[in-house]
Amino acid sequence: MADTKIADAFVEFERVQKSYDGEVLVVKDLNLSIPKGEFLTMLGPSGSGKSTCLMMLAGFETATHGEIKIDGVSINNIPPHKRGIGMVFQNYALFPHMTIAENLSFPLEVRKIGKSEREAKVKRALDMVEMGDFGGRRPAQLSGGQQQRVALARALVFEPELVLMDEPLGALDKQLREKMQFEITHLAHELGITTVYVTHDQTEALTMSDRVAVFDDGRIQQIAPPDELYENPQNSFVAQFIGENNTLSGKVKSISGDQCVVVLDSGEEIDAMPVNVSEVGQRTTVSIRPERVEFDKSRLHADAHTLKAEVLEFIYMGDIFRTRLRVAGNDDFVIKSRNAPDQTRLKPGEQIEIGWLPEDCRALDA
């Protein structure tokens, strides 16, 4: 799923490859363009190459092949300290022997900015993250969230056009994380800076980003805005990785336009939308989002295919109900239904029939 070239690209990866040992490529033929002001997230499991890409962009790793450009200029041979990229690290990397103000002052000092201007900028940056009163403290005296804000302020204080963030919220608890997610996106858009954000948390990726690049096996599997990524995963990896998914495997029986019929391994037939299957007889994995599965026959097309299912477990989760079913030999088939007054609560052991709209069931690669 190579990214098509964008005319006003600010950051570009052109056919970039990276190998540490000369035998295995951890990044394989990467092409990526990021326009100015975009918040792009690199999402993927560990070892997928996303962090390596970030490190190459920051200049801490060199590309084995290919070119990385910022604003049209190749930065392959520019050392990290001359790239002018702000960076937030996973463990914040605040210098423990300096006060907060000294930490923020550091990038300004090495840029030989005068004292009064430095102080003004440090103050402005601290105020921006609501840490104005903490300039005299040491990092160890701050909480995780506060350190996070300081790290963000430090990465922004010298007004870079590009900011990189390497799993910056990983060490925070859930509530704080959600708050920070909002603050970071808010700040990034307000300042109009280009942000490349690395995470393995798909919720974070979906909530924060303009676009998400899903990495696996050294390649970008799909790059798209969050809604498109969720609604239209282009392959089974993306479908699995983003959000929850039910999968069933089978063979394509017939294709007609944007609909096809798949025969499951259990012999039953279902309707699906062909995404990357093209011929009859091809093996496929179909994926259906749990919230798109219907068990109320009245809401389905009259001629829609249905499947028999047995309720195995019913979990009350507050806003939703989560029901685990046995479907076509699969014990982990999950459906989610909204907790509404008229919602049916299924009981374990109950025999039901389920179905879906053909466009909600995507026939993907096997």
Binding site: A58, G59, A93, F95, P107, V110, F158
Partner: protein
């Protein structure tokens, strides 16, 4: 506050004061903890505190004169040594009586050795006279003034009696005075004669050279520790073995190896001559002097510097350097402003370790130090094992201990002792 009506101690549920009941609850745990550390505590008491106390005591203890010559010391108190007159017959008689007892117990030669530290010649005076005094009879052979002077004319020397009188106090400052090139004389404290002044020179040299050695260890050890901390585990282990290798070789072997390396016909000089860097009749003198001591001791003590530095550097995450660079710092600035300050606790720990070890070293300076590379500890060793002047050795050791404590205190004031980490 107005609502504080209850002014007595806080009570537990059963009415006993809370503090008391807490103490009772904690007592068992305290006892258990105490029992656990008891073996170590006893060990430290017996092998460390007690010997050091013993040493401090020995440096002022001078009871042997009074113990061997009790009567003499008592009557000699009234004699005015500055008058230039010999003491009278009572002193001689008391001395003879004391000596007869001492000779029986074979204590007189021991005392002679002791007093010989203060006045050369007393050792043989006591030994030789002892054989003859043994034959005297207290009842019949008086007067003893003539008898003793006949045995040896030194008994007719005022200086002999002055020495006994001066050093007859039970607790003396004499050893400490000797340790700083002064002496205790009948006329009071005086400076040691110039030709015998050696201690202060050695103290200063010991401190200065230990500083140089510590500095060399920092300079040489820092890059090694840095590499160790930043290499992948497998290579780091290999390098660590190389660093620790000196520990596995006997000290004497290592020091002797330096002789082979550094002497004028040694490896380094041969190579320099071969390269044409020095003329063959102008070879470098890098052993049997201070240079030799610094080189050999730097090598021996280097692991003690590298290990604490390494363990501190291991805790400094590489992201700090990356962060600094991403903020625009050059490699050097990143190192100097960010990495180095964080590694200071390791340098501090290593320096204290190396410095304290080096001021106490004596084998290596003895072997490679020649005349100008020996330390105060070589004098201590001399007084322990050759001259037998343990009092002086103890005084020197106590001063060295005090110097270490002062330096430790100074370090605490300047750098802060909590800024020392072994890992």
């Amino acid at each position: 506050m107005s609502e504080t009506t209850h002014t007595g101690p806080v009570l537990a549920a059963d009415g006993t004061p809370l503090k008391k009941s807490l103490a009772r609850a904690l007592r068992v745990e305290k006892m258990r903890a105490l029992l656990m550390i008891a073996p170590l505590l006893l060990f430290v008491m017996f092998s460390f505190i007690w010997p050091i106390g013993e040493m401090l005591f020995r440096s002022v203890d001078n009871r042997e004169v009074g113990e061997v010559l009790p009567k003499t010391v008592a009557v000699l108190k009234d004699w005015d040594g500055t008058s230039g007159e010999l003491p009278d017959e009572t002193v001689y008689q008391a001395f003879t009586a004391d000596m007869l007892v001492a000779i029986d117990a074979k204590q007189h030669t021991k005392l002679g050795r002791r007093l010989n530290f203060e006045k050369t010649g007393i050792s043989s005076l006591f030994r030789k006279s002892g054989r003859k005094i043994k034959k005297l009879d207290l009842e019949t052979d008086g007067p003893f003034k003539e008898a003793l002077i006949k045995i040896d004319k030194k008994w007719g020397d005022v200086e002999t009696w002055k020495a006994i009188q001066t050093h007859s106090v039970n607790y003396t400052n004499g050893y400490y005075l000797n340790a700083i090139d002064m002496q205790r004389t009948p006329e009071g404290v005086a400076v040691q004669s110039e030709s015998k002044r050696i201690m202060m020179t050695l103290f200063k040299r010991t401190l200065w050279m230990s500083l140089v050695i510590t500095g060399m260890c920092v300079l040489l050890g820092y890059p090694v520790a840095w590499i160790l901390a930043n290499l992948p585990a497998r290579s780091a282990n290999l390098l660590m073995i190389l660093v620790l290798l000196p520990f596995w070789t006997s000290l004497l072997v290592r020091t002797s190896a330096w002789k082979v390396m550094l002497q004028q016909q040694g490896v380094i000089n041969e190579v320099l001559v071969w390269l044409g860097l020095v003329a063959t009749d102008d070879r470098l003198v890098i052993i049997n002097n201070a240079t030799g001591t610094v080189i050999a001791m730097t090598h021996i003590l280097l692991p003690f510097m590298i290990l604490p530095m390494y363990s501190v550097m291991q805790t400094i995450q590489p992201t700090y350097l990356r962060a600094a660079k991403s903020l625009g710092a050059t490699n050097w600035t990143a190192f100097w402003r960010v990495y180095f300050p964080q590694s200071i606790p390791g340098i501090g720990a290593g320096s204290i370790l190396v410095f304290i070890l080096s001021i106490g070293y004596y084998i290596t300076p003895e072997i490679v130090g020649g005349a100008k590379g020996v330390f105060i500890s070589n004098r201590i060793a001399y007084h322990i094992s050759i001259s037998g002047n343990w009092g002086l050795a103890a005084a020197l050791g106590a001063i060295l201990l005090a110097a270490v404590l002062v330096l430790y205190w100074a370090y605490d004031k300047i750098v802060g002792i909590d800024n020392v980490k072994l890992g």
